[in-house]
């Protein structure tokens, strides 16, 4: 645990040197180490004393009461869903409306037949993004068809269309408002910040409470999860519009509405489209996760396959979702930057559009004429059989080693850490959390940290939360260590950077759910594959930030240090890494939040802990447990985020 905090701690010392260098006690890494020592001593004393009641885990009574109350609420909702006016006239309408929207879009896509959908998709993507992307889209549809997952893909597509539509319907106006009103921007910024650190898994259950299990819930939760970027980036785009252009337009007597529609929106268009792109990508990742609350489609296929440990089937569905994600990213990204959009003379644009429409209608008509629907399943290629065979081979080859690694990690690292956290008196752990907050981020964060841990205890999921926390800490240490090494290498070599950058781009496009598939294939079930998935998932942004930070050090400074005879190692440790401090801190912060979101998802491959409570809560109708666990995940996220943000100002 000390090692987790060391990088952040060591770099923090620079800000507190005002009182003179009076020794170790003033350095935050040493203070952090002291806290750890106190925690370990406290744990040992507790064990020696035979775990007396005043020094145990958090008393469960309040939490159990809370969960029972939530269960009661849920029971009441289930009983009164069709009587209470709130549900009758509000939630049920939304639920039915969205459910039907998804079904309608799905039916429309089916009505177009596979031929119509493919032709429309390819032609449209050629028009906005050029022929390369059109080929990619064609390949994506081919994967949908040949994996035998055409219908699932269309369901996922319908869900994405519905939820992105809702997200944009609310997000763009909110963003415009935030772009034009400083007060509104200040009011919603903390909410957006909070939404972005909330792990996807924690979003799920409250929506089940309101909308029931199924596509409607999935559409709403996806829309809510995908909302922040479009609001934030639209606001940013509007605010960044050249003040001179606005002033000039005002000086010519434009009304506020004219300034919005003739100046701000056109000039912010590119930026807003970037936000739309990010929102779509978040929707793609969430729509898969939402299979846990009953969303159909590709996510459900992965979910089912994972729960049957059928790696082959999971791989097929994973491949389809990866292709979908990449195609979505390339198409919407191209709309934003417009670099590959074919240049077409204005006078040909309308005829071209007409021609494209005609081709689309013709394709759909041909499809219907021949009675095509979704791609016939018997024409698919069974990838799952060879993949499963390969998986068997891998398992027999590295299975024992993987198992050994798993049990070693479990018994030597995860186990002891978990024991330390859940075996120590709860108040000691809470105080330690507050102390970390104080050391790295000041009094306010200390208070927030203590409150977060208190909340976790009161929610009645202390033990599982400590389990999750220890998993997060271990995965974060590995992520940061690997990330710094790879990031430094990337900053050293332009060739390596050139090779690595597209790989990182690719990795950041993938929905997080997909990372679980290779982890299970290689490492089996349990916490270790979940941690491996979390590390791989969190690595790309960490590597990128380290690289950017080091490359951002001014050339003049490096030159000066070199001219004074620094070795490369001295240059790195004495100049570049300290100067990249801001980026490194940000890397720790982002890494830890991403790790948390993945670790809780790891419940799907047997990582247990809080994530498992969420899944269990749904599966066994114990919504109280599920929601309490979701809230505990949020508390952990808040604690980890605030402590690692350090004394930085909150993100802009």
């Amino acid at each position: 645990m000390a090692t987790v905090t060391e990088p952040a701690g060591a770099t923090d010392s620079g800000t507190r040197g005002a009182g003179g260098d009076e020794g170790l006690l003033r350095r935050s890494w040493f203070q952090a180490l002291l806290v750890v020592v106190v925690l370990v001593v406290g744990y040992q004393l507790t064990r020696l004393a035979g775990s007396p009641p005043w020094a145990s885990g958090f008393p469960g009574a309040i939490g159990n009461g809370f969960m029972a109350w939530l269960d009661g609420v849920y029971a009441w909702i289930v009983a009164n869903r069709n009587d209470s006016p709130l549900f009758l006239y509000f939630f049920n309408y939304i639920s039915v409306g969205l459910g039907s929207a998804v079904v309608l879009i799905n039916q429309f896509l089916n009505g177009l037949t596979w031929l119509g959908v493919t032709v429309i998709g390819v032609v449209a993507s050629w028009r906005v993004a050029g022929w390369r992307v059109a080929l990619l889209v064609l390949a994506t549809f081919a994967v949908f068809a040949l994996t035998g997952l055409w219908n699932e893909s269309m369901t996922t597509l319908s869900l994405i269309i519905t939820s992105v539509f809702i997200a944009l319907l609310f997000g763009i106006p909110l963003g415009i408002l935030a772009g034009r009103s400083e007060g509104f921007y200040r009011a919603i910024r903390p909410v957006l910040d909070f939404m972005q650190i909330m792990p996807a898994f924690a979003y799920l259950l409250p929506f089940v409470l309101l909308f029931g299990i199924g596509n409607a819930s999935a559409a709403v939760v996806t829309a809510v999860y995908a909302l922040p970027p479009v609001v934030r980036i639209t606001a940013l785009g509007i605010r960044e519009v050249n003040k001179g252009a606005i002033e000039a337009a005002a000086s010519l007597g434009s009304t506020p509405g004219q300034i919005l529609t003739k100046v701000q929106l056109p000039l912010a268009k590119r930026t807003i489209l970037l936000g739309v792109n990010q929102t779509i990508m978040l929707a793609v990742s969430m729509v898969v996760i939402a299979s846990v609350i009953g969303a159909g489609g590709l996510g459900d296929a992965i979910y089912q396959a994972l729960s049957k440990i059928n790696v082959g089937q999971a791989f097929q569905a994973g491949l389809a979702i990866v292709m979908l994600a990449i195609a979505m990213d390339r198409v919407t990204g191209a709309v934003g930057h417009g670099a590959h959009t074919p240049r077409i003379e204005p006078r040909y644009r309308m005829p071209l559009l007409g021609g494209m429409l005609a081709v689309a209608v013709a394709a759909a008509a041909v499809g219907r004429l021949f009675g095509l629907g979704g791609w016939p399943r018997d024409l698919s290629i069974r990838l799952d059989i060879p993949v499963n065979a390969a998986d068997k081979a891998i398992e027999s080859a590295i299975g024992p080693a993987a198992a050994a690694l798993g049990s070693w990690t479990q018994s030597w690292i995860l186990g002891p850490l978990d024991n330390l956290l859940s075996g120590s008196p709860w108040w000691l752990v809470t105080l330690a959390a507050a102390a970390f907050g104080l050391i790295f981020a000041g009094k306010r964060v200390a208070l927030v940290s203590a409150l977060c841990f208190l909340a976790i205890g009161l929610l009645g999921v202390w033990d599982n939360a400590m389990d999750t926390l220890s998993q997060v800490l271990v995965a974060t240490v590995v992520t940061i260590a690997l990330g710094v090494v790879v990031g430094v290498l990337m900053s050293r070599s332009d060739v390596f950077a050139l090779v690595l950058r597209p790989v990182l781009d690719f990795m950041q496009t993938l929905p997080p759910f997909v990372y679980l598939i290779p982890a299970v294939a290689l490492l089996g079930l349990g916490p270790v594959p979940a941690l491996a998935a979390a590390v791989i998932f969190a690595l790309p942004p960490v590597i990128r930030l380290v690289n950017d930070g080091i490359r951002g050090v001014p050339a003049g400074t490096v030159e000066a240090a070199t001219s004074q005879g620094s070795t490369k190692w001295q240059l790195l440790t004495k100049v570049e890494l300290p100067m990249a401090r801001g980026s490194l801190l940000l890397a720790v912060n982002q890494g830890i939040i991403l790790v948390l979101s993945m670790v809780v998802m790891g419940a799907l491959v047997g990582a247990g802990a809080l994530g498992n409570d969420v899944v269990l809560g749904l599966a066994q109708n114990e919504l109280g447990l599920g929601i309490a666990s979701g809230l505990a995940i949020v508390s952990l996220g808040l604690f980890l985020d605030r402590v690692t943000q350090g004394r930085r100002a909150p993100r802009a």
């Binding site: 001179g244 000039a248 010519l252 003739k262 000039l267």
Partner: protein, 388 residues
């Protein structure tokens, strides 16, 4: 401070005024309203900043702009000139004071009325052009007409005229990003002219341009002024530009007007050392005219010298004086205004060299003591100085 302000304000009852600015203040910061009217109002900027956190940008400024005149406001960066011009069209709300355009108080105008004024009566040209990069040149020029609701065909016709007038024919369909800085500012100029405003407001329009382009643009403005006879308020930090374009120049420092006058007055009779310092690099012979130095003949002086117009600058009077020992006769129409002799011009040049009339006076006195020569009339130039 009150002296130059008084100089700028014409006799009461005169209605021949386009812009009339009275006691205009702009203070940025909270509680800015609580400063004016208190004793703090007279304090210097730093003290006000320290005590209230407010920044005084424009301080009790009054002046009038006459129809058809080019009124230049000149000052260093931070002197408040850009804030001042924005207060004229309320892009920045003044803290107090009044601005009237043709007798109408702009401060009292409703949002609606203000838009009307901006759409029809005054148009502004900006330092960084403020063009809309997503629109073609013709749509940029037509913007002001578009927001007024003029039909497309009509506004394109008008915009086309303006584009031709500023010499950009052929670029109608380009985007601003494809044009050089000088050309972009021509677009800004065309956009302002397109709405056929009564008043043009220029906010350092040429500061961002290369010197050669800047000179072209200045000539362009002079040409357009002569053709269109618009009233202009022109902000600049460049004294040469101010002297070249301005009918009258207001020199601004720390939010206040230090001196308002014709180019000759500012250069020839600076009110204080700040203005003198400012104008010290100017070659007087290129600014001062015969009218500025004209005097009555001395008792036994020759009166048969060459003749010239009162508007001739000294640089052009010099060759005449070199050709003849007699003083030049200054004639306006049929009236003889007086004479300008070698000593007058030499004196003006000497002031230029020595940066300050006092210094010259002292040296001249010394010289007079040593050589008993013709009487040197110190007051001559000052007494007959004629401020346009």
């Amino acid at each position: 401070m009150s002296a130059p302000a008084a100089e700028a304000v014409p006799t009461p009852g005169s209605t021949d005024v386009t812009f009339s600015v009275r006691n205009l203040w702009k203070i940025f910061g909270r509680n800015a309203d609580n400063i004016i009217g208190t004793e703090l109002e007279r304090a210097d900027r730093d003290r006000i900043k320290d005590e209230t956190g407010c920044t005084v940008a424009v301080r009790d400024v009054s002046f009038d702009v006459r129809p058809g005149e080019t009124f230049v406001v000149m000052g260093l960066s931070g002197s408040g000139k850009s804030t001042l011009i924005r207060c004229l069209t309320r892009l920045i709300e003044p803290t107090s004071g009044s601005v009237t355009l043709d007798g109408e108080d702009i401060g009292d105008a409703t949002e609606q009325r203000l838009r009307e004024l901006r759409r029809h009566k005054m148009a502004m040209v900006f330092q960084h052009f403020g063009l809309l990069p997503h629109r073609r040149i013709i749509d940029n020029v037509a913007y002001g007409l578009e927001v007024r609701g003029m039909p497309r065909a009509e506004r394109y016709e008008r915009a086309q005229e303006m584009i031709e007038m500023v010499g950009l024919a052929g670029y109608e369909r380009s985007r601003p990003g494809e044009l050089s800085g000088g050309m972009q500012q021509r677009v800004g100029l065309a956009r302002a002219l397109a709405v056929d405003p009564q008043v043009l407001l220029f906010d350092e329009p040429f500061s961002a341009l290369d010197p050669l382009i800047r000179r072209d643009m200045q000539n362009e403005v002079i040409r357009l002024q002569q053709e269109l006879n618009k009233t202009s308020v022109f902000i600049t930090h460049d004294l040469q530009e101010a002297l070249k374009l301005g009918d009258r120049i207001a020199i601004m420092r720390d939010g206040e007007l230090v001196q308002v006058g014709t180019p000759e007055e500012v250069v020839g009779r600076p009110v204080n050392s700040y203005v003198a310092d400012f104008t010290s690099d100017v070659a007087r012979t290129t600014v001062l005219t015969a009218r500025w130095l004209v005097r009555d003949a001395y008792p036994d002086e020759r009166t048969d010298g060459p003749t010239t117009e009162p508007g001739t600058v000294l640089a052009e009077v010099l060759p005449m004086l070199a050709a003849s020992t007699a003083p030049v006769r200054v004639v306006e129409g049929d009236t003889l205004l007086g004479y300008v002799g070698r000593d007058d011009v030499l004196r003006a040049i000497a002031e230029d060299q020595l940066e300050g009339a006092e210094q010259v006076d002292a040296m001249v006195e010394e010289a007079v003591e040593e050589i008993s020569d013709d009487a040197v009339d110190h007051g001559g130039a000052d007494a007959t100085g004629n401020g346009g």
